[in-house]
Every structure is written in C-alpha cells, then in structure tokens.
C-alpha cells in the first residue's frame, strides 16, 4: 500500500514534467509553422506579458472580467434570495429565466454591439448578463432548499425574520451560491475573451486574434498560454476562498456521511 502511494506521488510530479519535455522536444524538432518550438513561445511570453503589454491588455481584460462577474454575483444573489423566498414570484418568472439563460451567450453579442456600441460598458454588461444565471439559479436552489428541521428550529425559538434571513437562510444557502459563482467565473472568462475578439481594440482576447491575423504565431501562442494560466489561477484562487468560507460545510458533510 505504501509503495503504491509513493509511486503515485512520484508519477504525479514526473508525468506532467515528462509531457512538457516531450512537447518541447517535439516542437523544436518538427518544422510546423503553426506549432513553434516551446522555447520560442516561452521567450515571447516573457517579452510580451512581463511587462510590456501587461498594462495595455491584461489590466483592461481583468477589469472587465471583475466588474462583469461582480455585478452578476450581486444581482444573482439578491434576486435569487427574493425568488427563493417567494414561490409565487418564482413561478411567475420561471419560463422567462429558463429562456434567457438558454440563449447561447455569443448570440447576445450582436445585440450588445447594436444597443451599446463597442465600449467597455457593453462588454461588462454582456458578461454580467450571461453570468447572472448560474448564480441566480443556484441561489434559488440554496434558499429554497434549507433543511426544514432548521426552519422549524428557528420558528420554535422565535427567531426574528431579519435574523432568520441573515443568520440562517443566507449561511445555509452559501454552499450552493458558491457553486454557482464558480460556474459563473469560468463563463465570465469565456465571455471576456469572445467579446474582445469581436468588439474590442485591446485586451488579451483581442491580442490573440490579432496575432493570428497578422501571422505572429509565437505571440498568438503566448496569448493562449496566458489565458490558460489566467483560467487556472482564477479557478484555483476561487476554490481557495471557497474552502475558507465553507470550512463548516465540508466538516458537516464529512461527519454526516461517515
């Protein structure tokens, strides 16, 4: 058993490194135009993003992402709580919500461009509009799904409505809310990239597409690499925050499953 664990740990580190090395070797050896040597990509990466184009492209991208995501979270939680607590409202709005969330987000871009032009506000709006649905739906699930025994306990001890909202319903819904936010975060990244490819003059997405159009292939790859890193870092960062905030939830689930 122990040997297997050690082997597993070794593999976990060795295999990714091995794959990287293989990629490096293959890309240097082969002569495909579209797949430059890994070393070239890394050099270009350092030159471009550290820190030449950081301010001109990375910062605007991150700002749009942050604003859009933030708006979506706030709107999603507030609306979600309202709908979660009022079944009639929920029934009224359900078909509209289901339809709006099914619209493939890229289809909304022309609408955004038409109504709001090609500026930052359009991109932030589109990101927010698309990202609100996972948060909203998960908040509703979380709020409506509070354990009935918890609710009865609150009634027995005469907990006021205000206290119930902030100290019972909201904490109880938090795990679901965070799950929705995690989905929304990856959506926000996608929307940021697409909107920059279609309607922007700066940003990482814009840079990657432009590089392709001007056949600056290593630059294109460096942008793709950056987006990958960004996706990974954002997700990992979010998971870290979630883990801290939801420490109680993991503990409670673990003990109830055992």
């Amino acid at each position: 058993m122990r040997r297997e664990r050690l082997l597993g740990g070794a593999l976990e580190i060795a295999v990714p490194i091995l794959l990287l090395v293989l990629w490096g070797v293959w890309s240097s050896a082969s002569d495909t135009y579209y797949f430059p040597p890994l070393t070239d990509i890394l050099t270009t990466f350092r030159e471009t993003w550290l820190f030449d184009r950081f301010g001109s492209d990375v910062v605007p991208s991150l700002v749009r992402l942050g604003l859009g995501f933030g708006l979506a979270c706030v709107a999603g939680v507030v609306l979600g709580m309202a709908l979660g607590l009022h079944p009639t409202l929920r029934r009224l709005t359900d078909p509209v919500v289901q339809f709006l969330r099914s619209i493939p987000p890229p289809a909304l871009l022309p609408f955004g461009i038409l109504v709001m032009g090609v500026g930052n506000s359009m991109k932030v709006f589109i990101i927010a509009f698309v990202c609100v649905w996972p948060v909203l739906l998960n908040t509703i699930d979380g709020v409506a799904g509070v354990d009935p025994t918890l609710r009865e306990t609150s009634r027995v001890y005469g907990v006021t409505s205000r206290d119930r909202l902030f100290h019972v319903t909201l904490p109880a819904a938090t795990p679901q809310v965070f799950a929705g936010m995690r989905t929304s975060l990856s959506l926000a990244l996608i929307l940021m990239v697409i909107s920059e490819m279609v309607a922007s003059t700066n940003g990482i997405g814009y840079f990657v597409l432009q590089s392709q159009r001007t056949f600056a292939i290593p630059e294109m790859w460096s942008g793709i690499l950056l987006l990958g890193i960004l996706g990974y870092v954002l997700n990992a960062g979010f998971v870290l925050i979630e883990r801290r905030v939801l420490r109680w939830h993991r503990g409670a689930r673990a003990s109830s499953l055992s």
Binding site: D147, T149, E152, Y157, G158, V159, T160, T174, A252
Partner: protein
C-alpha cells in the same frame, strides 16, 4: 399548565385524507415529567408538533396556561430527534446556544452567563468553541438540550431525542434530563417509543393508540426519586409498570389486527 382539548389532525383532503390524530385530550401539570408512548407511526411526532404550535390542528385546541397556542409560544422550547439538522452547522456551540437568546433582549454579560451555565450543566464546557459536527451524536444532543435550557422555558418538549443515540449514551442522557428537571424545575413532555425509558423517566405516562390516535391510557408512575439506572430498574414495580405498558400497547395492536377498534379506556389517575 398545558391543555390539549379534543385535538384532531388530518393530512390531505377528500379520499386521500389521512387522519393522523383522531381525538386527543390531555393535560400536563406544572413541574411534572410526562412521557408519551405509543406504537410506531401513531402520530406521536404530529401530536408534539401540534402541541408546540408548529402545526395547526384541524380541530380542537391547545392552551398553554390561559393562552391559546397558535404558533410556537415564547415559554416553550423544543428538542428535535435529528440533532444534526437542528443545530446550525456554521455556528459554534456557543453561538448555537446563544442564538435563541437574541429574542430575549438580555445584556451581553447576562446572555454569556446563561450560555456558559447551560453548556456547563450538560457537561460540555470544553466544547464551547467547537462546531457541532466536530462532536459525537450524544454530545450534539446535549448541545441541543443546553440551547433549550439557556432559553429558560417553562415547558420543554422533547421529540424522541435519544432515538438516534447509542444505548450507553442514551442512559447518560436520560439521567441528564432528570438532573435538568430537578435543577431547573422545568415541566417536560417527553415523546418516546422506548417503553423502558418512559417508565424510568416519568411521573406519568400517556399511552397512545395507533392511528387515528387517541389517548388510550394514562398511568401514574410511583417509583421513588431520585431514579437510578440500576437500582430503579431492579425494583419489581418497575417491571410491573413496564409490563403493563407493553401489554397495553400490544393488546391494542392485536385488537386492531383482529379488525375491531376497541374503545379507548382510561385507567387509574389521569
């Protein structure tokens, strides 16, 4: 103190209506510990929920003192069977016990004192800053009891609180309940399906019939106080009472199975 008059509770409507409680009338006096027993599925929990105001009765009335019970009254506290779902997992033990006290508008020091005393009286002073899920099942139920105690109710309802707990812990918790009653003088209504437990704890036992539930019998338990897990259970009177309750329930069940619903009868003092 707590009066239940011709309580009836039906779920659903029309053809699919289920009559959980047929006609229950009973009375709980101050300072006594009453156990309510009955066969499985006889609506014990429904009865308790109606008594506590969580469920509105279909007809009949529940009164606490002079006031009609239409929602959970302030003077009453309730301990649920599923402790893991009634304690808030995002709050520590201290916060859980202190939470209901917000309603009472006490000073910070007063509230703190109450919390610490209640938690101390259930023997969990060391766990004040831990989370419920870090504690064992028996300890969690103690926290729930402490929470009820800190609330300082006049009457405490307990819904099969020890059913999900192992036998040895259950014995300790039973003694805790007796201790609490002795110390705080609170009236206790204790629902259980464990006949031994009901005889051990109570001053009076109320036996319920199967659905639609009525009060089949009310017994007075004359065993000496203070009760002891070994000594009391060695008394012939204990065995006698226990047997009586057993037979009462079994006989009623046999009657039901034979197809005739015997009229409920009340023996001895009620």
């Amino acid at each position: 103190m707590l009066h239940v008059e011709h309580l009836k509770k039906t779920y659903g409507e029309g053809v699919r209506a289920v009559e959980a409680i047929g006609d229950v009338s009973l009375e709980i006096r101050e300072n006594e510990l009453v156990c309510i027993v009955g066969p499985s599925g006889c609506g014990k929990t429904t009865l308790l929920k109606c008594m506590s105001g969580l469920l509105p009765p279909t007809s009949g009335e529940v009164r606490l003192g002079d006031e009609r019970v239409s929602g959970p009254p302030e003077r009453m506290a309730l301990v649920f069977q599923e402790y893991s779902r009634s304690l808030y997992p995002w709050m520590t033990v201290r916060q859980n016990v202190a939470f209901p006290l917000k309603r009472k508008r006490l000073g910070k020091d007063e509230a703190r004192r109450l919390v610490e005393e209640a938690v101390g009286s259930v023997g969990l002073s060391g766990a004040l800053d831990r989370y419920p899920w870090q504690l064992s099942g028996g300890m969690q139920q103690r926290v729930a009891i402490a929470r009820a105690l800190a609330y300082q109710p006049d009457i405490l309802l307990m819904d099969e609180p020890f059913a999900s707990v192992d036998a040895q812990t259950r014995a300790d918790l039973e003694d805790l309940v007796l201790e609490v009653r002795r110390r705080y003088g609170v009236t206790i209504v204790f629902v259980t399906h464990d006949i031994d437990e009901s005889v051990y704890l109570s001053d009076r036992i109320m036996v319920l019939t199967p659905s639609p539930t009525e009060v089949q019998e009310v017994l007075t338990v004359d065993l000496p106080q203070p009760r002891d897990q070994v000594a009391t259970k060695e008394l012939p009177e204990f065995a006698h009472l226990r047997g009586h309750v057993w037979r009462s329930i079994k006989r009623r069940q046999a009657d039901e199975d034979a197809g005739g619903a015997a009229a409920p009868h009340v023996t001895s003092a009620g």
